[in-house]
Amino acid sequence: MSNTEIKTVTGTGIPLMFDDIDTDRIIPARFLRCVTFDGLGEHAFEDDRQQDPGHPFNQSQYQTASILVAGRNFGCGSSREHAPQSLMRWGIRAIVAESFAEIFFGNCGSLGIAAVCAGRDDLKILADAVERDPSIRLTVDLQTLTATAGDNSVSVEMPDSVRDALVTGEWDFLAQLLSAQDQITAHSATVPYLNGFSS
């Protein structure tokens, strides 16, 4: 089974140039009291927004943004998929950051969010362009590994495995894993602790 092919993401941007933004800030724990992910979008960055009226997620010019430009170690902290889910439901389709925490990055891959890395100076070029003109169109191109804002184009990085999965639409990992059922069964017969530790 295939999902949508994600080759490029185009839209307006939202700058959030801070480092070490953790998942508790993206979606505070009290909003995890839910049995579905519905409705998480409106609570993205809820507490940061309350404390800072100037927070980009509060500003009207960024409300239709789909590409987030962020700093280093974005999404550190908990494994909660609620974090990328809330960003996605808010409208984010791609994140360009200096680096990502691993579990968050993996969760983005599961959801088809294009999470790519760029150098700090390049990020600043993108963030400045968005701040100057919030209506400017950004494009994250996974085929050429570039992020473009108007005339400015910078190169971005993404591990081949994740890029290939998104570009070919093969990011329904559940279906892929399921297709190896026979191998899984055979494999479990070789795991010592499932077989009385006898060799």
Partner: protein, 472 residues
């Protein structure tokens, strides 16, 4: 045949089902632990696709995050929490998964329960929809936190996909000074390597400092690997590991135990094992450590001062300034003496019996400072029972602490236990992120349980080394 592999690669190779077309590894999962927060959507995916739980015997659930630790009568007052409880009960029932529920004395924080029950064993792959799954690495397993989509994948196939990380050996040799605990060791490592230092790596903790640690101390270290960016951390199994596991409910007995023990020990890194990277620290320089900021790397020895912003690397200044401002502290000021409002002893980092004993030792015969709210939340019902058999609850209650039921409590405050407003909390937990303890403006100082206890007594951050400890 010479085999220079480290434990991580041995366990990885043993569990490799195949390489996926995208180059990632499909890895067999030995143990899948579940809790109420990150699982309901995963079970929903199974229902949507008409799938079953592939290996219900390798799957164990408990409840910990949303449960109240005082007044657990059902239905819970919080309707949303009640819904989540009903969901995990229904899901486990429908899909045939064992649930260690509130009426089962094996219930507790998922990372306390796994080792306690002997579910966690060396040489396994262990996953859970929770980032502190790294705790289980203390036994010499690959233990990693996963997201909810992954939880669904593991439920349905008992496998997951992952890129093989590199392995860094973190070596610390030497004795820890009195008053310095496993918590201080891991806070020090994170301070030195940064919150991002471990991204792309599994950490092997090696050296005489870790060899000398009890299994519970090793769990404290591995627990916080993720705070240093490493998705997992582990310590090679040794005789202590074997003895810890002997007689636990999910561990085999008799001859099979002997076979198990021999196999567990055989998984340890070879003496000449190769690593992608290595760092070495000296145990003697580690002090009781306290965080002053909003990431677990923003810490100092208790006798030291907060940084001066202008002395920090230009790239760090913004973050440090933001942290100092949020915390309401002054740059260059000593952390010792910082006034606290709340003292929290609990969480999967430090809520085991040894932690509670250490804290009780400090508290014994003293009283909580006026105006400080102090709570002790054991990590599991069995820890709680053990502590009560030893009379430790009385030590705490006499001093003015509240003695609670097992759960995550104020570690993340998805339950009624929360900071209020700008309160400052001395906490034995693992995260000092903004808002982590339930109040968006609440402030957290991470430290060892003994240091939390001392802070509760004095109402201020206190150097445990200068705190005269009366015998229990």
């Amino acid at each position: 045949m010479s085999d220079h592999r480290n434990l991580f690669n041995r366990v990885w190779d043993l569990h490799t089902v195949r390489t996926l077309p995208n180059g990632q590894t499909q890895l067999f999962v030995g143990l899948h632990l579940i809790h109420e927060v990150t699982s309901p959507q995963a079970f929903e995916i199974l229902r949507d696709r008409g799938l079953k739980v592939s290996c219900p015997k390798q799957t164990v659930a408990t409840v910990d995050h949303i449960i109240p630790t005082a007044g657990q009568a059902r239905p819970f007052q919080d309707n949303l929490a009640e819904q989540m409880m009903s969901a995990i009960e229904r899901n486990c029932d429908e899909f045939g998964v064992t649930l260690l529920n509130l009426d089962d004395n094996r219930q507790g924080i998922v990372h306390v329960v796994g080792p306690e029950q002997g579910l966690t064993q060396p040489g396994m792959t262990i996953v859970c929809g929770d980032s502190h799954t790294s705790t289980h690495g203390a036994f010499g397993s690959i233990a990693i936190g996963i997201g909810t989509s992954n939880v669904a994948q593991v439920l349905a196939t008992q496998t997951m996909f992952l890129r093989r990380p590199k392995v860094r050996r973190v070596i610390i040799n030497g004795d820890l000074a009195p008053g310095v605990y496993a918590k201080d060791v891991i806070l020090y490592i994170i301070q030195q390597l940064g919150v991002e230092g471990g991204v792309g790596y599994a950490y092997e903790y090696a050296g005489s400092t870790f060899d000398a640690m009890s299994m519970e101390e090793r769990m404290t270290v591995c627990n916080m690997s993720i705070e240093g960016g490493a998705r997992c951390g582990y310590i090679n199994p040794d005789e202590k590991t074997v003895e810890y596991l002997r007689g636990r409910p999910f561990v085999p007995d008799g001859e099979e135990f002997d076979r198990a023990a021999a196999w567990w020990l055989s998984m340890a890194s070879a003496d000449d094992a190769e690593f992608d990277d290595e760092v070495v620290f000296d145990a003697s320089v580690i002090e009781p450590t306290v965080t002053w900021g909003i990431t677990p790397a923003q810490s100092v020895g208790v006798s030291q001062q907060l940084p001066n912003v202008r002395d920090c690397a230009p790239g760090e200044q913004k973050l440090i300034e933001e942290a100092i401002q949020f915390m309401g502290l002054a740059e260059g000021s000593p952390i010792e003496g910082t006034k606290i409002d709340v003292a929290f002893i609990g969480s999967c980092t430090n809520s085991r019996i040894s932690d509670i004993r250490e804290a009780a030792h400090v508290v014994n015969g003293r009283s909580v400072a006026d105006g400080v709210k102090a709570i002790v939340v054991p990590g599991s019902q069995l820890v709680r029972e053990q502590a009560m058999d030893e009379g430790l609850h009385e030590v705490f209650e006499t001093a003015g602490f509240e003695w609670r039921e097992a759960g995550c409590s104020m570690c993340l405050a998805m339950n009624p236990d929360k900071l209020q407003g700008r309160e400052v909390c001395a906490s034995s937990s693992n995260r000092n992120f903004k808002g982590r303890q339930g109040s968006p403006t609440g402030r957290t100082l991470l430290m060892s349980p003994a240091m939390v206890a001392a802070a509760a007594i004095n109402g201020r951050v206190t150097d445990i080394r200068q705190f005269e400890v009366a015998g229990v």
